[in-house]
């Protein structure tokens, strides 16, 4: 009896490991190919290159108008702005929805929930017109300022859910002691909501780092290009001639996401499980 359950568990693990390998194979192969000379990439499906060659990284780093560091720095500026914006504006709105009794709260809350599902494409043309009137095209402002205006309503919802779990007695006691809402928000809710803030920061980081549509539309000159847009021009300029360098820079572009994934896994899984975001 025992050996049968053990056998079954071994088979199950073997299948899962095999499936996991198939899933990750393209990724692992891209890592190894980024260290292969170009002509070998087209012939060698194996993960271990016969000879290690890091020249793809130096070639790729300098293949575009600016060194790749420039695009990484641009992406970093956009990401830091977006993360800060979302943390501040979404937590403020969430505090109002979770803790304040104001006129029309249920209606506004429903509007907020519906705005989560609005496709960006429906508003992108007027947004573009608006930002070009403001002379913001080809700056980071169209990518950062909306985040300070809580347009990523997903995170409002996520934080409302979290705030609801914080005992109301805490802020009622603070009110009796004469605390205003701003202090309750800043001194009680924020410190107690670190997990929700972390989830928000992590998802905003990954989404903004990966975002292509917005950055493609609003950033028009190579000086302002972020990593995804730069990678895309790299594809256009090299076609399929220099896969090694292209792979090398693709790997570089994935490393920040991967690092955040490694350290933020707990929050990612929790965030998805409670709100269903990707």
């Amino acid at each position: 009896m025992l050996w049968r359950t053990r056998l079954r568990s071994i088979v199950r693990h073997a299948l899962l490991i095999a499936f996991g390998l198939v899933m990750l194979y393209p990724l692992l192969w891209m890592v190894s190919s980024s260290m292969k000379p170009n002509d070998i990439i087209f012939r060698d499906p194996s993960l271990l290159p016969a000879e290690w060659d890091l020249s793809n990284y130096t070639v790729g780093w300098n293949a575009l108008a600016h060194p790749f560091t420039h695009y990484l720095a641009n992406s970093a500026v956009v990401v830091v702005g977006a993360v800060l914006g979302n943390l501040i504006s979404c937590s403020m709105a969430a505090y109002a929805f979770a803790r304040l009794n104001f006129t029309g709260r249920r209606l506004w809350f429903a509007i907020m929930l519906m705005s989560i599902m609005l496709p960006i494409h429906v508003v992108i043309v007027p947004q573009y017109v608006l930002f070009s009137e403001l002379d913001w095209i080809n700056t980071f402002l169209p990518l950062i300022v909306p985040k300070f205006l809580a347009t990523d309503a997903f995170f409002i919802f996520l934080m409302v859910q979290f705030f609801r779990g914080i005992p109301k007695e805490l802020d009622e006691a603070a009110r009796l002691d004469g605390c205003g809402h701003i202090r309750i928000y800043a001194r009680i809710m924020m410190p107690l909501s670190l997990p929700a803030l972390a989830t928000t920061a992590i998802f905003t980081f990954i989404w903004t780092w990966n975002d292509f549509f917005g950055q493609l539309i609003f950033l028009t000159s190579p000086d302002m290009y972020t990593v995804p847009v730069a990678l895309r021009t790299f594809v256009d300029s090299t076609g399929s001639s220099n896969w090694g360098a292209l792979f090398a820079m693709s790997i570089v572009s994935l490393i920040p996401v991967f690092v955040v994934f490694l350290f933020g896994q707990k929050y990612l899984v929790k965030g998805i499980a409670t709100t269903g975001i990707k």
Partner: protein, 319 residues
């Protein structure tokens, strides 16, 4: 649990008169709350009106004009909408998008559900497996992965290298009109990790006692799955389905990068959003792009409404 669930319960509650409604008059404290609410909601209000609702209305207006960014818009009535139905590239892009959505989303959810069930109860190393299967979801939308896909399914790509080992001569999958869309579907199925995590969370909510009771009654594994797991999981399946359909319909990056922005070969990967981008930001035909955007909104809204309607027949809410 989810935003969707919350919305539908709100609707049900308000139909009943809603427990949230206050009967007594407003007290001084609540008036104070109004002032505080204006402060805390100020950023969101500005964003809602300037970045979201304003542009939403503006794009509806622009959809009835010939706006091209350079000249002031002229009102042209329904012309853009009439033009859409004679635009073969647009009709084709709708076909491409629906094909992509209706095939890849069910496959993706099936994979997610299957893996969630295999991983569910008492499996050692669950956290590691979950991470491995989830990772592609995080990376899948990036330009880097789209570049990888272009190579993997290219003429000398990884897939063909393996086929060559088996003595089969492959072809350029991404450059063949019959197969290019398929490679993008595979990419979407590859990102089944996010719905899988949601399924895992849902499976954990099912009380162990249900299974114990069924086991005592002599129910087989298959029977327990069919009569306990599946019905109790239908709300989560529904939730995942709605979200993934909405998301897949808006896919853009992968098709853009894999086809070099063209939607080729022969428009076979011309997603609706890609065509919208070409009209709006390639040709600056912004009036037409706005009309396309509103059609997109109607389609997504309609699809979601149909889903909600159909859910009455198969989604089981225990409460």
């Amino acid at each position: 649990m989810s935003a969707l669930r919350e919305l539908s319960t709100m609707r049900r509650e308000s139909g009943r008169g809603g427990p949230g409604r206050r009967r007594r008059g407003r007290s001084a404290a609540e008036k104070g709350d109004n002032r505080a609410a204006v402060f805390f909601l100020a950023p969101w209000f500005i964003g809602l009106f300037v970045i979201t609702a304003g542009p939403l209305v503006a794009s509806l207006y622009l959809s009835f004009t010939d706006y091209n960014l350079l000249q002031d818009p002229n009102w042209i009535g329904w012309e853009n909408y009439v033009r859409m139905f004679a635009d073969e590239r647009l009709l084709n892009s709708l076909g491409v998008t629906f094909t992509y959505v209706l095939i890849s989303v069910p496959l993706q959810l099936a994979a997610a559900l299957l893996l969630a069930i295999v991983l569910d109860r008492g499996l050692r190393g669950l956290a590691i497996y979950r991470s491995v299967f989830y990772l592609p979801s995080l990376l899948g939308g990036s330009v880097a992965i789209a570049i990888l896909w272009r190579q993997v399914f290219g003429t000398n790509g990884l897939v063909n290298q393996f086929l060559a080992l088996l003595g089969i001569e492959g072809q350029g999958w991404v450059s063949h009109p019959d197969y290019a869309l398929g490679t993008l579907m595979i990419l979407n199925v590859w990102t089944f990790g996010a719905p899988m995590v949601i399924f895992l969370a849902g499976l954990r909510q099912i009380p162990e006692t249900y299974y114990e009771a069924a086991a005592i009654d002599g129910a087989s594994r298959a029977r327990r799955f069919r009569s306990i797991t599946l019905p109790l999981l239908t709300p989560i399946i529904f939730f995942n389905l709605v979200l993934q359909l909405i998301g897949a319909f808006q896919s853009f990056t992968q098709a853009f990068v894999v086809s070099g922005g063209t939607g080729g070969p022969a428009d076979s990967t011309l997603f609706y959003t890609l065509y919208l981008y070409q009209r709006g930001f390639g040709a600056f035909d912004m009036g037409y792009a706005s009309a396309m955007a509103w059609l997109l909104l109607v389609i997504i809204g309609g699809m979601t409404a149909v889903n909600f309607f159909a859910s009455k027949f198969w989604v089981f809410y225990g409460d």
